[in-house]
């Protein structure tokens, strides 16, 4: 019985030792490289006395970082990706919540990693990947581990301003990768172009199928997403045939007409997720590359990754939405109405192995979203309530309706408007704030009273919030408008921004 995702690598490294596994512009690691490096570094971590605990991996987005993730798993620990792109305030909050004893860094991140590490030891990847092997200790880990031991923690946005660390065990991850590979039909010919940062669960779609199916993952340089022609040149240069990207990255290519000017030549599969794909953009893709399989992928971090999919099999009108589709095997997805009754329209709820262990070091917020199945009063059964509203259409497919709360989807990321406000309100002098989301323009604007001038506030927010949460425009007001009930007039301010 399979108990850890490391076993994928054990098999594939024997089957394709010299085939490239992970690469970027500078470095290529074969399956054998990843296998050897991860076992050497894993031996080192075991020698440091680490055991079933968090290891923060604070490295640049490189093939080595992926090998470091696997090294942490080899040692029976779980990894937590930290990235220089995260704002310093967020990194601090994550370290506060996580309190790791070990951090792995590279040459580029060493200085910052040491700054945030506190009492944790900081190890350089280049050093630990050349340690001595300890076969005995590695075998002991494999023998004694169980599949409900954690594999990783991914931090997501939380409405109070404190990020939530979603803790995921090997069993959920294996379950996800098995179903995902079945649906997508990856094989050893598959070459992924990796778009999403490794600190988002969307990156799992490339990393683990590569280990299971012997694919290749090419890390696409972040800067190319500004310059779509260069981006497709890159895809062609590395013969990338599979993209699992957030919608905004795909839109970047189609909206500028690059599909006609310099289309990606090798594409076979395009998986998209993170937000609703605008039909206009989807149609451009379909028209330019009609033989590609287009697959909508949906699922929150809290249920491991993707839990629902829809392979586009028909035309859509401009005002229609591409469905979320149906559940992966071994996941039960159902809609609950406001009275917690099964319904054809309501909140998306999930049950099964995909449901993760909860939020790390946060029992309070875990119990709010991971709850007893209200349809079952006979034995303990935890379901995850996504907060997404959906309905079932006449074809039996699930279709996304909206978010239940103030959480929105912006540039493919989950954003709690409340988190932005909580942060702004904590700035000296600010007495109130209201973040509004302009759906049509996919833009966040902020209104606030008191405190710093507009330009200064924007700069402060860039230090404190992830890039995608920083409002495109901030507006200082003498007094924020209120509704007759004395609440902030969100609708009024949204309308003001939409003008």
């Amino acid at each position: 019985m399979m108990r850890s995702v490391v076993e994928y690598l054990d098999i594939t490294a024997k089957k394709y030792p010299t085939k490239v596994c992970y690469r970027d512009e500078k470095t290529a690691l074969t399956f054998e490289d990843v296998y050897n490096q991860s076992r050497l570094a894993g031996s080192f971590l075991l020698g440091e006395g680490l055991c079933r605990e968090a290891v923060a991996v604070y490295m640049s987005k490189t093939p080595s970082e992926l090998a470091a993730f696997i090294a942490v798993l080899q040692a029976g620990c779980f990894y937590v990706p930290i990235d220089d792109e995260m704002p310093s305030k967020r990194i601090e909050l994550i370290f506060d919540n996580l309190k790791p004893r070990a951090v792995i860094c590279d040459e580029e991140t060493r200085e910052n990693a040491s700054k945030f590490a506190g009492s944790a030891k900081v190890y350089s990847w280049d050093e630990i990947k050349n340690s001595a092997i300890n076969e005995e200790a590695l075998t002991q880990v494999q023998k004694t581990r169980i599949d409900t031991d954690l594999a990783y923690i991914m931090y997501t946005s939380g409405s109070t301003g404190i990020p939530k660390g979603v803790a995921v065990c090997h069993r959920s991850l294996i379950d996800y990768i098995e179903s995902f590979c079945d649906v997508m039909k990856f094989d050893e010919e598959t070459i992924f172009g990796s778009q999403t940062p490794f600190y988002f669960d969307a990156s799992l779609k490339d990393i683990y199928p590569t280990l299971k199916c012997g694919c290749e993952t090419v890390i696409v340089p972040h800067s190319l997403f500004m310059f779509p022609i260069k981006l497709t040149e890159f895809l062609n240069e590395y013969k990338i045939n599979t993209l699992c990207w957030v919608v905004s990255a795909l839109t970047m290519i189609s909206a500028f007409g690059v599909l006609d000017e310099n289309p990606p030549k090798y594409l076979k599969i395009v998986g998209f997720g993170g937000e609703v794909f605008p039909i206009k953009q989807y149609k451009r893709w379909k028209k330019a590359l009609p033989d590609v399989r287009y697959i909508n992928l949906y699922g929150p971090t809290e249920t491991t990754g993707v839990s629902m999919y829809y392979e586009v099999d028909r035309d859509f009108e401009k005002d229609e939405a591409i469905p979320l589709g149906k559940a992966f095997e071994n996941v039960d997805i159902f809609l609950l109405d406001e009275d917690n009754k099964l319904s054809t329209e309501g909140e998306i709820c999930m049950r099964g192995t995909a449901v993760t262990m909860g939020y790390y070091n946060d029992f309070g917020r875990t119990s709010e979203a991971f709850v007893q199945n209200p349809l079952n009063d006979k034995y303990p059964e935890i379901i995850y309530r996504t907060g997404d509203l959906a309905r079932i259409n006449e074809r039996g497919e699930m279709v996304f309706v909206s978010r239940k709360d103030f959480q929105i989807k912006h540039m493919g990321h989950r954003v709690e408007l409340g988190e932005i406000e909580a942060d702004v309100n904590s700035i000296e002098g600010v007495s109130a704030s209201c973040a509004v989301y302009l759906k049509k323009k996919d833009r966040i604007e902020l209104y606030y009273e008191g405190g710093p001038e507009e330009g200064d506030l924007t700069n402060m927010l860039k230090e404190r919030l992830p890039r995608y949460m920083v409002p495109t425009k901030v507006n200082k007001m003498d007094k924020l408008p209120l509704t007759p009930n004395g609440k902030l007039d969100r609708k009024g301010l949204t309308a003001l921004s939409e003008k």
Partner: protein, 75 residues
């Protein structure tokens, strides 16, 4: 040009757009900014920046970007 500077100031208030010529090279502008700029320029000047003009050279300074907009307005 002033309207353009205003758009840019909205994104990064502390940058001296009159002199800075390394907006891309020094990672001052990122992909979110480029998307915003393209859409704001379209709104304000009614100029759609085509893909082949989306290259680092056209975005490295306000001057270069303004030259691009003027060129596109003439077409």
């Amino acid at each position: 040009m002033e309207d353009l500077i205003e758009i840019l100031k909205d994104l990064h208030a502390d940058v001296d757009y009159d002199t800075c010529e390394t907006l891309i090279d020094d990672k001052i502008l990122d992909s979110f900014d480029i998307v915003s700029i393209v859409s704001e320029v379209d709104d304000k000047f009614d100029v759609a920046i085509p893909a082949k003009e989306l290259i680092p050279e056209n975005f490295n300074s306000a001057k270069a970007l303004w030259a691009l907009i003027e060129r596109l307005m003439e077409d």
